[in-house]
């Protein structure tokens, strides 16, 4: 049984490392945009970090570059100006969960009809693998060379859980980009989150655990195993909140 598969029209050669989850996410994103008929009517607000490479990975996509952590506030402004356009933020964990924690939670609080996508790779990818608030206890990074010590740096932070508690958040879910099954699930979440924005004017947030082989000092295949074996212990997958019909949770 042959299944037809076609590269999304706007994507081109990207500059992410081999095995990086960002490439996976952009493909899922653009597949969803095409399926919803919005690939010609969207504005992506890039975070700062590896997500800023998104701009160079598309041929005619519309992206606004933001400052560190400020993507949700910019997206709010863009959506106010152009309510007919699909507006979403594309951020990393350092951007959305550390420096932009306030912006992310306030976006969930205001619940403007935008969508937030967070690629959580448990470290600061672009700057060379420093410790993030999402790094796991004992995780070796360039700023926690003996492994993250929860005594002095705290336990992994889970802002997705905080966002899900906000009354007006319609959908909050965590997927992982580490296996065909999980990638297909991530696609489902992404599409649902975007659909909620344009059909019901609701706010949704989707986090994806994303492999970062370069900064984890692992091969790509080891990296996806590490997500499976380590990251999910602190960041369990699944739907945290779903207010839509039949959504439960």
């Amino acid at each position: 049984m042959a299944v037809q598969r076609k590269r999304p029209a706007l994507l081109k050669d990207n500059s992410w490392c081999a095995g990086c989850g960002h490439g996976l996410f952009t493909r899922l994103l653009h597949e969803s945009l095409e399926e919803l008929g919005y690939d010609n009517n969207y504005i992506c607000v890039d975070g700062v970090g590896c997500s800023s490479n998104y701009f160079a990975a598309t041929t005619l996509g519309s992206a606004i570059e933001s400052h560190h952590g400020k993507a949700p506030t910019i997206a709010r402004g863009v959506k106010l100006a152009r309510p007919e356009t699909m507006v979403f933020t594309y951020q990393g964990d350092g951007d959305a969960y550390v420096i932009g924690l306030s912006e992310t939670l306030n976006a969930a609080h205001f619940a403007d009809p935008i969508t937030t996508f967070v690629l959580n790779n448990n470290n600061y990818g672009m700057t060379g693998g420093q410790m993030s608030w999402t790094s796991l206890p004992g995780q070796v990074t360039t700023t926690s060379k003996a492994g993250r010590d929860p005594e002095t740096t705290g336990m992994p932070l889970d802002p997705l859980k905080m966002a899900a508690q906000e009354e007006r958040v319609a959908f909050a879910a965590r997927a992982a980009l580490n296996s065909p099954k999980n990638i297909n699930l991530a696609k489902k979440y992404i599409k649902k989150a975007l659909e909620l924005q344009v059909k019901e004017e609701k706010y949704a947030i989707v986090e994806m655990l994303s492999p970062c082989p370069t900064d984890w000092n692992l091969t790509p295949v080891q990296a996806i195993r590490w997500i499976e074996e380590e990251a999910v212990k602190y960041y369990p997958l699944g739907v945290l909140k779903d207010t839509t019909e039949g959504g439960g949770a």
Partner: protein, 365 residues
């Protein structure tokens, strides 16, 4: 027909009439009336008011909405303006014509919350990281609060550069009669592109980026200088000031003229670009220039000193500074300083010890 309005409200109403479609702001003395006023006024007109979680969020909401084509503005004061600098720098980098008002305080940190002119140097030099300039208009009356806000959107769009209204607490809080201008036509999205912008948003990937910014700054500096001269034709001493001190300075000019002194006033309206042309038009009878500011250390006085070097016939003029602290210098204080510098010229005209009259100790004055 004129109506009585508070400065902050006039600024807000001027912006509304000038076409502002969205205001995003955060409460902070002495400018909170702007957002209080707009929280009613914007919805009344079917436009958008947003109270945001911080000044940073205000400026970035403006940043996003303006980039998507909507006329937007925000306002703040003191440390709130400091928080906004990142966004302002970003707007300059992306040529986003945002508008914002700084209703100044005075002094570092939280400062003196009610009035003063503490931010001249920071704002005229751009304010944030990188090198750029913001067009700055400095009103000295409630009418000008309204007029400058009214024209700021078109000015910003003309240059694709942010515009700042550099006001101060005193003007924001005082009440004067104002003439209301006609409403300008506006809509949700005024420019940008048809439909959605395509790959327009990364100007600094352009190799000519730096050069383009430099050329724009040069052209703005040439075309946008504004000033007002008062009794300068035969003056030996020029008072120069912006904002509220320019009003007390004018009073001092009148009184000193009545005493037979040859004094005049050059009021700075565009704090950036600094009105070098206005200084170039001063007569060659000018022997000394006194800058009057409501701040702690000489700020605009530095620009005056630089300008005096640029203008050939002012090169030998003595340059003095009167810094009165948060509260604007009174007419009597300016006259006292005038006679002091006239009779006893000082070598170190601008010094870091601003005014020997101990500006903070108001009780003794």
């Amino acid at each position: 027909m004129k109506v009585l309005m508070k400065g902050n409200e006039a600024l807000a109403e001027g912006a509304v009439r000038g076409g502002a479609y969205l205001f995003a702001g955060y409460p902070m003395t002495p400018q909170s009336e702007i957002m209080e006023y707009l929280s009613v006024r914007m919805p009344e007109l079917g436009r958008i008011f947003r109270q945001t979680e911080s000044e940073t969020a205000s400026i970035f909401t403006v940043y996003g909405a303006r980039q998507a084509g909507m006329r937007t503005f925000t306002s703040s004061s003191g440390v709130g303006m400091s928080l906004m600098q990142e966004g302002i720098s970003g707007m300059c980098a992306k040529s986003i014509p945002g508008v914002f008002a700084n209703v100044q305080r005075c002094g570092p940190g939280l400062g003196f919350a009610l009035e003063g002119q503490g931010d001249y140097l920071r704002d005229t030099r751009g304010g944030g990281n990188g090198d750029y300039r913001v067009l700055i208009l400095a009103p000295n009356s409630v009418q000008e609060m309204m007029d400058f806000a009214y024209e700021s959107f078109e000015l910003a769009e003309k240059w694709k550069n942010p515009v700042e209204i550099l006001s101060e607490g005193k003007i924001g809080q005082m009440v004067e009669p104002v003439e209301l201008p006609e409403f300008k036509e506006t809509k949700r999205v005024v420019d940008g592109m048809d439909g959605v912008p395509k790959k327009i948003l990364l100007d600094h990937d352009d190799p000519e980026f730096g050069l383009k910014i430099a050329k724009k700054i040069e052209a703005m500096a040439e075309e946008e200088q504004r000033w007002e001269s008062y009794l300068t034709e035969d003056a030996e001493t020029i008072f120069t000031a912006y904002g509220i001190p320019s009003r007390t300075a004018r009073g001092a000019v009148d009184k000193l003229r009545a005493e037979g002194e040859r004094v005049g006033l050059l009021r700075v309206i565009s704090a950036w670009p600094f009105p070098v042309k206005g200084f170039a038009q001063l007569p060659d009878t000018v022997k000394r220039i006194l800058t009057i500011e409501s701040c702690v250390t000489p700020q605009m006085a530095e620009d005056v000193l630089i300008t005096a070097k640029k203008v050939m016939h002012l090169r030998d003029a003595e340059v003095y500074s009167l810094c009165s602290g948060p509260v604007a210098a009174k007419v009597g204080e300016i006259m006292q300083k005038y006679y002091q510098i006239k009779e006893d010229p000082q070598k170190e005209a601008i010094s870091i010890i601003p005014n020997k009259a101990e500006p903070f100790n108001r009780a003794e004055l």
